[in-house]
Amino acid sequence: MQTFIEDLITKNNYQATHLLAVLRAVQTQYHHIPKAAIEQIATLFLIPRTQIIGVIEFYSFFHLTPRGQYELLISDSITDHMLGKHEMTAYIEQKLNVKLGEVRTDGLVSFDNTSCTGLCDQGPAALINGYALPHLTHAKIDQMADLINQQLPVSDWPKVLFDVKDNVIKSSLLLAHPIQPGEALHTAFKRGLKETLKEIDMSGLRGRGGAGFKTATKWQYCSEEKTDEHIVVCNADEGEPGTFKDRVLLNAYAHHVFEGMTLCAAIIGAKKGFLYLRGEYLHLYDQLNAILADRLKLGLLGQHILGADVDFDIEICLGAGAYICGEESALIESLEGKMGIPRNRPPYPVTQGYLGKPTVVNNVETFMAAAKIAVNGGEWFAAMGTEKSKGTKILSICGDCDNPGIYEVAFGASIQSILDDCGAKDVLGIQIGGPSGTFISNTELARKIAFEDLATGGSFIIFNNTRNILDIVNNFTHFFAHESCGFCTPCRVGTSLLKNQLDKIVNGHGSAGDVVALEELCQLVKTQSHCGLGQTAANPILTTLERYPELYQAKLKKISYEPGFDLDAALETARRMANRDDAATHLTQVEEG
């Protein structure tokens, strides 16, 4: 192990910013991070061991105790539930002889839940040693069980098991008529970089992650910072359950994305760029690096790009299972080899980002849009969309519809028109923008996709009338409690309190005051939390409580108060010790009245 780690650290140039990459390699090799490895990494990177332990315990894909040689994770997204996740889980437990959340006694397999894997259009999905397994079936699980029992390395498994489809169904400005590698840069250099920034400004392009900050303004601010060390970061950490558009863009349109990043670098004067790729998209890592190598050969990266006075390189950094790293300042912390904890603002990343340098962080789709605008001009883009939301939005549509996949729609498109496009019938409601967005009911289908109405990063989950809203809300609320970074009190404690309070109601233990208490808690978490995660964590409850209050009320018991503490269950230990289980050793909670 000692030489393995020495080589790793040398390969990573003794840069502690590469801690995640090193830990990923150690986890892959040993299926946990052994204590001796922590000590050695601390010594070689000259960082305290506590930083390493902190990072291991922060990211879901790192472990201090051994996992199986085959680490199997099943996606716990609501869309996977709807496609039969529970049944597949039971079948895996039986076939592989391992319980969810456990390591098999022979140490060969471990099995656990993981947050949304970004395969919502082809679930139920799983990850095996980090690689995506779409569309699980009994037959595939049988096959996997054989492969595991033969102890065949995952790299030698049949490729068909890992066949992730793009499912691009509706194309418009961005997805139709791909541009050639270098085309955007050629045009921009010819037109002039200042003029190109003007085109992007004129296009009205706003950040596609959901927050909608004007892209040209962000680039302008960053370029005004006086330093020659600007940084460009592409946020490909799409962790919002129900979103998978970046997976497709990076699989089929990676040149566009890299072109957009390079264009940004030329405009703001950056020499260094990062693509922060969520760990769940490990299957894209090698091919993306190959595209970067091609671009270097083509003179579209490296020194004197296309003969101009522009030098730029892009490095791909993999995440390790933390939704919070989609928040731009948490992402920057993660790039620096730390826990993904959102920073205090100000300062904003455009003035002090990666290692304190002015940094532009944009979504995958934003960079792609910028590249196409550089080629086609601002007016071309602004001709579509609404007054405040120009252009198109790429949606990841999944859930109850005939054709889940990627749909590029003009901003201003009505929800009804989108439902018609994808063949959704008997609709109960739609979760727009993922759990952190809004749940709308089937009475609101005239509403529009736009920053001024329903803003979204791309997640669009359809539920039909056979679905139970409280199950959906419960899944989302558990998700936020699991993904809270724990930095600030309202979110750290609040998201877990929300989870417990909602469980109490959903499981039929709620009484009169419990829905009021739930709503109060929602408001507190929403208004007092440090970052967007906490500020939106209560949205699933708030948006459904507003629309379906009767669903919550119907779950309540007709008594004025039910304690959160189960008296009878608390006596279980005493009963076991006394070896008694007669009536006198049981207590009734509250007399029903």
Binding site: G54, C485, R492, L524
Partner: protein, 239 residues
């Protein structure tokens, strides 16, 4: 003319680079806080110091004072939220004030009194947390840790050591110490370190000193935390 901000209708002068908390403290305005300490870089995590700046919620300990800001601090709704956040800290850990040797000297308890907290409000988590009594002079009781990171910052910024860190995610956050065994006795901490004395609760205690000051004669037995805090922290700022 000195630059000023308005806090609850009072005009408060500030110097360039000061946070709202620093300007307020210097002017004798108390903003409740637990993770802030004037000697260390601000953290902004406990969220007790949330004030409304031109209508927006901001942490006073990290947000820079800027000319023309209208700040609301001592308002009914903000104090109600602060009380609930304090209650969250109480239910998250295991805080039994009557049997805690820090009682009367505890900032968490004092803030709770100041905010008129009369019960826990939320259901308790009853988390299982360990104690580390391995060190000859110091004790860690994880039941009382509120993750303010003051010990982390004091060790790093003042003592020039890296004894403490916060590890884990979400509700599973926990304090860890920098030794191969994971025990405090194997770290390079000393009872003379700032980090050993900075804990606002009873999570890090100096051994053999309990009850030397009897209950009834402790810091917050006679004064509210707002007065104590202003008296000590104004001095710190003047240093």
């Amino acid at each position: 003319m000195a630059k000023t901000i308005m806090i609850d209708g009072l005009s408060i002068p500030f110097e360039e680079g000061q946070t709202i908390m620093q300007a307020a403290t210097d002017a004798g305005v108390y903003i409740p806080h637990l993770c802030h300490h004037p000697e260390f870089s601000p953290h902004g995590s406990c969220k007790l110091c949330t004030v409304k700046v031109n209508g927006r919620n901001c942490s006073a300990c990290t947000f820079p004072a800027m000319e023309g800001q209208e700040v609301i601090n001592n308002a009914k709704d903000l104090n109600a939220d602060r009380q609930k956040i304090t209650q969250m800290l109480f239910v998250e850990g295991n805080h039994f004030c009557p049997s805690c040797e820090k009682t009367g000297n505890c900032q968490l308890q004092a803030v709770a009194y100041h905010l008129n907290m009369l019960d826990d409000h939320f259901p308790l988590f009853y988390q299982h947390r360990e104690m580390d009594a391995s060190h000859a002079d110091l004790l860690i009781d994880h039941n009382r840790c509120i993750f303010c990171t003051l010990c982390v910052r004091a060790s790093h910024e003042h003592d020039g050591k890296e004894v403490f860190a916060i590890s884990g995610r979400g509700i599973n956050k926990h304090l860890i110490v920098n030794s191969e065994s994971g025990l405090l006795k194997d770290t390079n901490i000393s009872a003379m370190d700032k980090a050993a004395h900075i804990c606002p609760t009873g999570a890090i205690l100096i051994k053999h000193t309990a009850y030397q000051v009897p209950i009834g004669e402790r810091i917050y037995d006679h004064q509210q935390i707002d007065q104590v805090s202003l008296n000590s922290e104004q001095v710190d700022h003047d240093k």
